[in-house]
């Protein structure tokens, strides 16, 4: 075992315990470390069942927070984070590979751009409609109840939500798909 965090040991493990870290594709295994292999089939049974019950409500709640942000606490930032949390929970319990099948990493990098472009594009569209940047009243100039502002805020918040959710998930994917070099005895 060449790899420790002892102060005397300067070098990283290059060709160290490759046999030791072979099964850490599952972040749940990472977090609940030292799980013996024979457990894994039934180990997370309760967590899996509850996760299946909870996953859809969390997504629905995220959507509620996203689109109810005009009327109550909430908005794109919170909704994006909650949406990301649902998938992070999924990854923690079912493993990162399963989550990546459900929501591929390539989509995320596209969605990150789409979110920001949705926001910026709304602003540019307002300019093209003859107003200032992000002057939502140009969307519906005739409205007496500021319908343009409502539409603008909804679109922009949606852009924020998409950008935040995909960025947070992307960051999580990047961290979780790395293999820890530290042996479990360090705990």
């Amino acid at each position: 075992m060449s790899d420790t965090t002892r102060p005397t040991d300067q070098g990283p493990t290059d060709q160290g315990p490759t046999d030791q870290i072979k099964t850490v594709t599952n972040p749940a295994g990472m977090v609940q470390s030292a799980a013996s292999q024979e457990y894994t089939s039934i180990e997370h049974l309760i967590l899996r069942v509850v996760m299946k019950v909870l996953f859809a409500p969390i997504i629905v709640f995220a959507l509620y927070v996203q689109f109810h942000g005009d009327y109550g606490p909430g908005g794109g930032f919170q909704a994006g984070v909650i949406f990301a949390v649902a998938f992070i929970l999924h990854a923690l319990i079912f493993g990162l590979e399963a989550t990546k099948k459900a929501l591929p990493q390539g989509w995320l990098s596209v969605l990150m751009v789409v979110g920001v472009l949705l926001y910026a594009g709304t602003g540019v569209a307002n300019m093209l409609l003859g107003g200032h940047l992000l002057d939502y009243d140009t969307i519906d100039p005739q409205s007496t109840h500021h319908a343009g502002q409502h539409y603008g805020i909804l679109i922009v918040e949606f852009g924020v939500g998409v950008a935040v959710a995909s960025t947070m998930l992307m960051i999580f994917y990047q961290f979780a798909s790395r293999e820890p070099e530290i042996s479990d005895e360090e705990w």
Partner: protein, 203 residues
């Protein structure tokens, strides 16, 4: 207490605020003391939830919501992942570091404490921060935006450009993490071996 009427509700709020702040202090102190990084990360989740509770007490429901979702949901998981990839334990404090740090910290703290003597009172409606721009938002939102949640109106409309910038910062941070950890592969990089030669050289 002659002139100002302290109601029961205000006294209760004061008690709740004080207990929350005490808990915040204790948790922060324990985070400073503990060398077990797993415990520190868990405590940071508790710290976030406590501060979210305190935000509710200060009427900032949107902020509390965000802090609870981010602090308990994302931040803790990311820190956990970061900790798993780096180190589980912190080394003991180097002797000689603490006195300098204490000196700097107490100087800064004393200066800030001195500055609070001139601060407007807590909850003062006429404080410069509250009387002008903030009040304008409250007065104008019904006429100009017509959205019940003033925070959303200010966030997405009045200060929409600001929020665009914030979104860009988040996007940039995501790209930075991708570049640092993803190793250029859209399929998700595995462990990178490009540094092992240097590691050998250092030994």
């Amino acid at each position: 207490m002659e002139n100002d009427t302290v109601t029961l509700a205000e006294a209760a709020t004061l008690a709740i605020d004080l207990s929350l702040l005490t808990l915040l202090f204790l948790v922060a102190y324990q985070m400073l003391k503990s060398r077990h990084l797993f415990a520190v990360v868990m405590l940071s989740g508790i710290y976030s939830l406590l501060s979210a509770l305190f935000f509710v007490s200060l009427d900032a429901v949107d902020v509390a919501f965000t802090e609870a979702a981010v602090g308990a949901g994302i931040s803790t998981v990311l820190m956990l992942a970061g900790m798993l990839l780096t180190a589980r334990r912190e080394k003991p404090l180097m002797p000689g570091r603490a006195p300098v740090a204490i000196l700097v910290v107490f100087l800064v703290g004393a200066a800030l404490m001195y500055a609070t003597l001139d601060m407007p009172a807590f909850g003062d409606a006429t404080a410069p921060a509250n009387a002008y721009v903030g009040l304008q938002y409250i007065e104008r939102t019904p006429n100009e935006i017509a959205v019940p949640n003033i925070v959303t109106a200010v966030l997405a409309s009045y200060r929409g450009f600001d929020t665009l910038g914030e979104t860009m910062v988040i996007f940039t941070a995501g790209v930075a993490v991708m570049l640092l950890l993803g190793a250029g592969s859209i399929k998700g990089g595995r462990q990178v071996k490009d540094v092992s030669d240097d590691g050998e050289a250092q030994q």
